[in-house]
Symmetry: D2
């Protein structure tokens, strides 16, 4: 999971009813995402990075129970003594737990039991929130963190469900009969408009979070960075462009690849992004709508950092660094408008319209997480919080790369210009894409 | 799976209604076994030896469809083109298939779809059986094999379900609210009667199947064996006796162990049979009724060959060879009477009554599979059948040991004195037990 | 190592000078075998089954020191306190030791140090043997065992050296400039005489050791076996015959293979015996003389049990069982005459002469170990000796198959009709061959 | 190997005799390092990161042959056709090669053959260097790279030899009878002077190489960086200080550790730096002089990044970033004076003298590589060279961390303020140490 512990900023006190509303809205979205699933879909773990949806449903609930109810609601009794062992993700502070690799081997508690657990916690949270005025700022911080945490798991649910359904040869459609449309199927332009290069002037800029709202601790401290002049493409790399890389033998030529990436290409027999298969003389990819033809105009997704970097090398360009990305996003005044987010129920980035303004920078927020060529390391002055929540974020700050901008599976209220996501260079099951710089 | 391809003996023709009755009776037993399960329980695979119950339900159905309906019912259409890939177990003749290790990662088809598949095949089989009189002997052989095959998977279902439920810290009881009793809980005698040694005279005897009924090909050819005088214990080793071995440091003393077994003891930290845990100052074991205290009088089960052999060494005795076992079973006229089988719904071997006749040999059939110190190799004159069913049995004839006598999870109509079961020396999830000889 | 602990037979007392002579003769042979090696050759371990020659040289010396000098020579001081840790092979009774997998990673003590260790022990042994008359029978048994043990390691040295040299692309010849000839190169007949089938009558026979000389404990007790009439081929399967199996697609057809063997064929990409490579339009094999063309008339060697069994299946025949092999060898009065043994310095079995008597059974002793289809299990009445030497043999009695007859790397004085060698079914680096029965 | 491809800077033409002198001087140093070794020591590979000294000796020679002699000396014949396969390290451009994991399993060519190979190349290089005036700048660049490359392998030889000798329980001393002294044994001060914090003012600075001499391509382009005010300790962390961390339970408290580091601590049972063992009631460590007591005043070495970072967390400080390190080193005018380098034959960093100036920053060059908390990524404008040498460096730019300053195993003429070394966070066999910042 990509996550981060809470900032120290103290949120203003808010009416209990508002807090309760926000709580229920986010909790309901989680269950909405799982509604199309069968119980069978919610227990399996076809690879280590994926968690069973039943586990997600319970883990976020355990988070509320452990960090809020148990701490702050007088007289609250833990719902079940074994659930901490079962649904703690990675908090060493909170004791032993199921090995991550075993999450998909345990059938009980049943899905219905997990929903009962959710209902139990959902019933007690309003009692706690009614006391909000009397509770310390730390409570409000962790409450906000709980909401953000559950949103992070919404994104993981969307991507884990996709992976789970993809492993069946039946290629089941998560969204069949849903009335929802595949973003890339309804797109009318068969190819995206040609990418343009937009200049970003160099100099000293500030990056990192500075406002009064919520941010994760890894977005702090805001600090000055020095960048030089560079150019950035005005949109994400498309499937059509990526197909040219494939056709040019990009997966067969070690010169484009980092050494560890090239080893993976050979060992894993990669020859296209995750979910791509050749069928009936053409490339298809597995989506939330089942198997669909690759849409040339849509942004390429499900590529590893290795593939993103190899593509950039082949294209004679490069990826952005993290500071460059944030400087550019601020320079172009990036907003969520026009981006694809979780709430669209599209689960695929939209192609850029044929008449998109070539002088503006598109798709910076939403659509696909953009791999940067920057390591996920602490910002200056970063320090871990005390207690279990200190494990939220800081302990992951090595061997991972920063991704920026959110994706079509990110809740729109969850993203920020300063948001730092992070994954290992080989990961492909998130909606990860490519933007070029030079 | 332990299984064997059919003998060449030609069964007499039987009325279609009788065949249909047998078919439905056995098919219903399979579903009865799965009735207490939730859909979640039916998809997971917590270790490689275990298959998800959904897979078992579908695989046996695929067997009927592939070897009977597709071959012999005119106009029969395969239910789903992907099911052969999904539910073929190990038949190279029948094409590629899901890796065994991935059986528990695939959520679709759903459990309900698999039941629909079963219903489809169950609806077509009577049409085929109505033609039985016109079909060749080969049909009748394979029909009988299909019944035996489904019974083998009933035993695997019973043991795989136990393993699946055991992995949850909730220790869920398969049989709760079932009205069924744990065999060892209702036993009145706290300790078993002392074991006696019964002589078996040496000489030349015949072993292997010789009748007109069904047998697996691995029971053929019947042949003469030469045994010397030996003595055998009149009952299985009990939990109480095995506890003495544990208490005496049996798991800490390499001298009792075969080298590969000793490596396992150290690597896997074995210190008791599978399913045994220490709790509240006493040994408990996970059962189909959840966690229960160890009953001293009941036969020990869930031991590997290594443990069985180490126990025998510690006890100053030895295991029987396969020929000795069959010679002894014939000598004592072993019958299923008094044995515990699948149909008892007990899922645990019964303790020998305190007043059991010390001059008779008990528990030879049912209760627990007895590890022999004989390799699972072909009998003289054995040959693999042509076609896919030639893979049923012969290809497993190396690196496994023979077990004899059936267990409390074996259907009573499935066992024979000549039945040869086989497992690798390290396997513990079947109801495997110990009988001593000297 | 294939080895066995000593029999209980008490050897007659022998003059000290005779004992000393035998000791030195065998010790010198070991060093003779290592004379063509460079220090570099003596430390590497290119696979787990192989031990570095330096390790062999030291381990056999440690055996003499530990079981003889330390036990029986008054005042003897152990040569080096760390050598027990370094050169104990597998005796749990004698404490912790280097992991087998790490034998090839430890460069010190140097080869010269090991030779000094040998010289030290060689200098003290005569002092001990001078006391032989006064020592108990147990001493004489273990002395004899020490000789046999060192001979076993001579065979392992011959085969391990071959493997070590084979891993270099330089294909260095162990025997270059040695004046020795490759047995199969000097053979004049390009193809072996056609194999004949020789009948062996059934009945009750005795197998196992019965004389007054030395035998390993695994050859005891001698006992009666019952065999039926069968036929055996009068010679080993040749390279030419095995090439027909290869050419017929034997390595591509699962029907000939045991399941675990077929998995290996696919995983390891086996398509010929170990050491075979295709080059210049023909099959060559690596030998102690470097890379040589495959000689059609010579017995095939370096096949696993899986290959031996698959070949037999393809040829419409079968392998012998262990009792059948010994019954046949006794029936045909097998002797070492005409066989190839270690002392020949040929390191390859000889082709059967074109005029070999077709009514006699050839190549039963020497040339190649014959895989039997019998598990390496204890004979009736077998029991492990007390103390460390009880680990010599008994703890290996599972998951291995018996091989009979010795090979071109076996010292001629080491082999017996009753000798039981054993390896796992996948091993190929010994001189293992095939004899057919039906 | 940590290495980097050559800069594009064109070195001035130099007299052939000077070139030849430099060539021979560096080549002889390599052989000097191997002189105390036995042939046995030169072939083993006790872990994947280590290469056998014989391999190093040959690989650097292959480098000269492949990139210089073969390219530029008319009529030069490759010494042996198989050596490219055997001694190519990782250049995909130059064809297939021995798996890295197998370098220690191949005994031939012998060590003497490798020295003959070296002599052959050493004899031809002067012929080529005599033509230096007529050769293009590219020749001079690669010649310089060849020297630097061989120096890099000198450092690896020093550290690989240490690891190889450490695996023997005999703890052999590389330097015994060498007349050389252990730096930390001769140190008179038992404890180091207390560390002081030295301020480094923030602002914009340039880092990266800018001169006319040699640098690796990864030191380019030089560029501006922005740092804030920070403080750095005036010396490396000592063994004594690190022992306090151990004594305080640092290896048992997950809060100090990055997640992946904590997993390693648990899996590998780390409880001290590499080479540390407890013996006779005190900590010892394996050195080039065999096992020696830990000297409290000497810098701690052989720690992973995880340990360095955990130590810093425990100490309430942090590691420097790469830009900070270079800015500080420039600020303090770091020079090699007083540092311990390869040529000292000490193979251990020296303790800081008790009277060392507390206002100066010591041990920046030599002694121990300092882990920075910066990823090894390309500098702005970095591009891989065309051809095989493009693989020298760029393909390693992910998942590794930068280390700065050189160590006691680095040749003094090889280090620079701008030198970027890189290793994975778990590596410990180099002389890696810790400097604190805040």
């Amino acid at each position: 999971m990509s996550a981060a512990s809470p900032s120290l900023a103290t949120p203003a006190t808010t009416a209990a009813s508002t807090l309760t509303n926000r709580f229920h809205t986010i909790r309901q979205r989680t269950e909405l995402l799982c509604r199309p699933l069968l119980p069978e879909d919610t227990v399996v773990q076809p690879m280590l990075d994926v968690s069973p949806p039943k586990w997600h449903l319970a883990h976020v609930t355990w988070f509320w129970e452990t960090f809020l109810l148990k701490e702050h609601l007088p007289g609250y009794q833990v719902y079940h003594p074994d659930y901490a062992f079962l649904f703690n993700s990675y908090y060493n502070s909170l004791g032993s737990r199921v090995n991550r690799a075993d999450r998909g081997t345990i059938s009980r508690p049943a899905l219905a039991d997990v929903y009962a657990y959710r209902a139990h916690v959902d019933a007690h949270m309003p009692q706690l929130l009614a006391l909000a005025d009397t509770l310390p700022p730390a409570f409000h911080e962790v409450f906000e963190l709980g909401l953000q945490h559950e949103q992070q798991h919404q994104e993981l649910l969307a991507t884990d469900i996709k992976y789970i359904l993809s492993t069946s040869p039946l290629a089941p459609a998560y969204l069949d009969n849903s009335g929802l449309e595949d973003a890339t199927r309804k797109a009318t332009n068969p190819e995206a408009p040609r990418a343009t290069w937009l200049p970003v002037p160099g100099g000293i800029s500030r990056i990192g979070y500075e406002g009064n709202g919520f941010c994760f601790d890894n977005e702090l401290n805001s600090h000055e960075v020095l960048t030089t002049d560079f150019e950035v493409q005005n949109r994400l790399v498309t499937n059509g462009e990526y197909l040219e890389f494939i056709a040019a033998g990009g997966y067969q030529d070690f010169r484009y690849w980092l050494g560890e990436g090239w080893d993976l290409v050979q060992t894993m027999h990669w020859e296209a992004p995750l979910y791509w298969v050749q069928k009936d003389n053409g490339w298809h990819r597995f989506t939330h709508h089942g198997l669909q033809p690759v849409h040339l105009a849509a942004p390429v997704t499900h590529v590893s950092f290795y593939e993103a970097n190899a593509y950039a090398n082949w294209a004679g360009a490069r990826l952005l660094t993290e500071p460059e990305w944030e400087v550019a996003a601020r320079h172009f005044g990036a907003t969520p408008a026009g981006g694809t987010f979780l709430e669209s129920n599209l689960f695929d980035p939209q192609p850029l319209p044929a008449d998109a303004d070539p002088t503006r920078c598109h798709q910076l927020l939403g659509d696909a997480w953009e791999w940067t060529y920057s390591a996920y390391h602490p910002y200056p002055g970063y320090s871990r919080a005390a207690g279990a929540l200190g494990e939220y974020n800081g302990k992951f700050m090595v061997n991972q790369l920063v991704l920026r901008g959110g994706s079509c599976a990110t809740p729109v209220s969850h993203i920020r210009l300063t948001y730092r996501n992070f994954f290992h260079a080989d990961k492909r099951w998130q909606f990860t894409g490519i933007r070029l710089a030079r």
